[in-house]
Point group: C2
Chain length 157, copies 2
């Protein structure tokens, strides 16, 4: 009796149609969306006073970590479109938290740097982030936090 060369075995739950994709609670994307939404809402509440969004804080943080970074560099690190990056940088520049400047090496590029107000805002924001992350991590052991970050990283790397 010849053996089948099994590359992958898919088990169909008993009593369920093989064509059925299953239940919505088994969809990873569904949970990812709900989890993101919950964290987004808590973030927004935490940051009402500062008036900053997740994206805006991320941009301030990344510019602080990489002074003089160009908008395309920011786009790559944030996995955003150029136009989307523009919109966010525009808002931060309008609030005088971030400044555009010319690139000494490439006339097409802009250099981005935090203003003094931007640095102060980032410091305050990091305090709020700490509280926000504590709220988030309170559900997990340190080991679980590490696992969660590992698994999430595989989705965006």
């Amino acid at each position: 009796m010849p053996r089948a060369k099994e590359v992958l075995t898919i088990t169909t739950p008993p009593g369920e149609d093989a064509e059925d994709i299953g239940e919505i609670r088994d969809i990873v994307g569904f949970h990812l969306r709900l989890a993101h939404g919950a964290v987004y809402r808590h973030f927004t509440e935490t940051f009402t006073d500062l008036g900053l969004t997740q994206k805006q804080v991320s941009v301030l943080w990344l510019v602080d970590d990489h002074p003089g970074i160009a908008q395309t560099g920011l786009s790559q690190r944030m996995r955003m479109d150029r136009a989307t990056t523009m919109a966010i940088v525009n808002r931060l520049e309008a609030r005088d938290l971030l400044a555009r400047g010319p690139s000494p090496t490439d006339g097409r590029k802009q250099t981005l740097n935090l203003t003094e107000a931007g640095k102060a805002m980032l410091a305050t924001a990091k305090e709020a982030i700490r509280a926000h992350e504590d709220w988030l991590k309170s559900r997990y052991t340190p080991r679980e936090v590490a696992v969660l970050i590992e698994l999430l990283t595989r989705l965006h790397e």
Copy 2:
């Protein structure tokens, strides 16, 4: 020598200021946002032809699972505001995928049900979801998928 009653020990990495929150790559929310964005983009690409968003598919699916559900019931399951739910239901109703009806028991409520076109669309959407989830799950072992869902669920439950 008295022992300290340690509830939680927080270890500060050597050479790092205790006031420093750390690096952005250690922030769970940062990875969650990037992961969500990556999955969102792949979802959008997968669903360009159908012209459905994540939220819209979730609503169709939930209405199919719970025929006659009210908009507030939908709001709770999707963790959305009433007004946000309205906007999404409006779009689906305008495309004749979903129908509003009166509630037999409560004059304030609306019942929601899929139209025939809505049921057909959902069936097609589920096929696309299957491909989308396969892409997503290809990074993980079945065990890791279960862990990821477990950890994400703790964030939105």
